[in-house]
């Protein structure tokens, strides 16, 4: 219950920030509408709604990395954590308290994208529900990345690294905006060694009802999410001890 009080504080802080509502919920919607408009004039297979929507739902999660990193970095910078470290909250309370509030926001973002996609012609199938369900491990992956960054960077650095660099890198290396085969070589190898493209291909497979196609991508997502979460916990504990 102590953890829920802390999570509640984080939920309020995130939802009261208007930038959260714009980037977290509005921006992916704008992208779907814009790219669908382009697709209507110049057809590109990559931007067909059944390909585009899973990619956008994954790309939108890059903002969850930004939210989780920002909230930790701000708490660290304001001495709030120093106060809370003298309370009975445990390290696990902090990690869950930062992670749990962002999962429903991620799911809401995904649902909004699919509702928009349905209006743009996406067939209504039960696979949409599965796609929303499978976004949860992907969101944990992105949130863990944010926890890790927020534990070592200050809020200004978080803005630059998570807000600009990571958002772009996760986009380029995800196969959402262009087919990775077009670049090929080392770029493609690096992309497939990272989790972003696997998350997108997993979501595309789920939406298409190709459940054997989920693998091995799901393992990549879960593997990276686990490693990043463990690293985030270790780095958070390190900065806690540094106090």
């Amino acid at each position: 219950m102590r953890m829920l009080a802390f999570a509640n504080k984080n939920t309020k802080e995130i939802l009261r920030d208007p930038l959260t509502l714009f980037f977290g919920l509005g921006f992916p919607l704008v992208l779907i509408l814009l790219l669908s408009a382009i697709q209507a004039n110049i057809p590109v297979e990559l931007f067909e709604i059944q390909h585009l929507t899973p990619g956008i739902t994954v790309f939108g999660l890059a903002f969850m990395t930004l939210f989780s990193a920002t909230i930790i970095a701000k708490d660290r910078g304001s001495s709030l954590l120093q106060r809370l470290y003298t309370t009975p909250l445990t390290p696990m309370d902090y990690i869950l308290g930062y992670t749990l509030p962002i999962i429903p926001i991620s799911v809401a973002q995904c649902v909004i994208c699919y509702i928009a996609a349905i209006f743009l012609g996406l067939d209504i199938t039960v696979n949409i529900l599965y796609a929303v369900l499978f976004i949860i491990p992907v969101s944990i992956l992105y949130i863990a990345l944010g926890l890790l960054c927020g534990s070592v960077l200050n809020d200004k650095q978080v803005g630059g690294i998570c807000g600009a660099l990571l958002t772009n890198l996760s986009a380029w290396l995800s196969g959402v905006w262009f087919d990775l085969d077009l670049v090929g070589g080392a770029f493609k190898k690096i992309a497939y060694a990272l989790p972003f493209v696997h998350a997108v291909e997993m979501e595309r497979a789920v939406l298409a009802g190709d459940f054997t196609g989920i693998f091995p991508h799901l393992w990549w997502v879960i593997g990276y999410a686990t490693v990043l979460l463990v690293l985030a916990v270790l780095l958070f504990l390190r900065q806690m001890k540094k106090q």
Binding site: A5, F6, E13, S78, S79, R83, T86, P88, L89, K241
Partner: protein
């Protein structure tokens, strides 16, 4: 039993000794001030006593509980109001207080009663619905102290509570701190000599991690041979006092 007893408490950072073999005792209900110039070791001492950092050697006992071995027990006794105002700016005053009730595991009934009690004690009624980030420095400090008092601590650490406040806000906060005297043991760090003299039962002066003197303000002045506490502090820190 003392509220606080340190035994050769030492903290080293690589080749710097931040606190060097500190031995002091604080009685229950006492308002005890730690004074010293920057780098004297005051904040490091408070961080060790509040379990934020582990000592390199030595130990300290808060109500008999070791800061090295009984961390959970010590945490249940203490509360800290850090040097920077540690409030959540995006939450209202009430929500900040609710947060602290929540992390201490209070029931809804206890939470309601505690918030009502502290709102009255600290005069927060007028700002209870306002966002903490919109409050003046003085109100934020008040809220910060209220948040520290939520857990009904036996020992309260106030790290430079009036830093950066105007004269009136400081005077208000002094009244508040005076009203807490006797109810809770208070450890205060400050750079303001008049603050330490006006509020404290006893004062410890530190320099380079070492304890130079620990006594009442009057006895410290007598020892330094002056009627002015600031002069006494300067004499002692510069090593002039006998």
């Amino acid at each position: 039993m003392y509220a606080i007893r340190t035994a050769n408490l030492t903290k080293k950072y690589k080749d710097i000794i931040a606190v060097d073999q500190l031995n002091l005792q604080v009685k229950k209900g006492e308002l005890f001030s730690l004074l010293g110039v920057n780098g004297a070791g005051k904040t490091t001492t408070i961080k060790m006593l509040s379990c934020l950092t582990q000592p390199t050697s030595g130990d300290a006992f808060l109500n008999g509980k070791s800061i090295c071995k009984d961390i959970a027990a010590v945490k249940s006794l203490i509360a800290v109001s850090p040097q920077e105002t540690a409030v959540v700016p995006g939450l209202s005053v009430r929500e900040n207080l609710e947060l602290m009730c929540g992390v201490h595991g209070f029931t809804k009934e206890k939470q309601k009663a505690k918030i009502a009690e502290l709102t009255e004690l600290l005069g927060l009624e007028a700002v209870i619905k306002k966002k903490a980030g919109k409050l003046s420095g003085g109100w934020q400090r008040r809220l910060s102290i209220a948040m520290a008092l939520i857990s009904e601590p036996k020992i309260l650490f106030l790290d430079e509570p009036t830093l950066g406040l105007d004269v009136l806000a400081r005077s208000d906060l002094w009244d508040l701190i005076r009203s807490l005297k006797g109810k809770v043991t208070i450890i205060l760090t400050t750079h303001y000599m008049e603050e330490a003299e006006a509020l404290s039962d006893r004062i410890a002066i530190m320099k380079d991690g070492k304890l130079l003197i620990c006594d009442t303000a009057d006895k410290i002045k007598a020892r330094a041979g002056t009627d002015d506490f600031e002069q006494a502090f300067i004499h002692i820190v510069k090593g002039v006092a006998k």
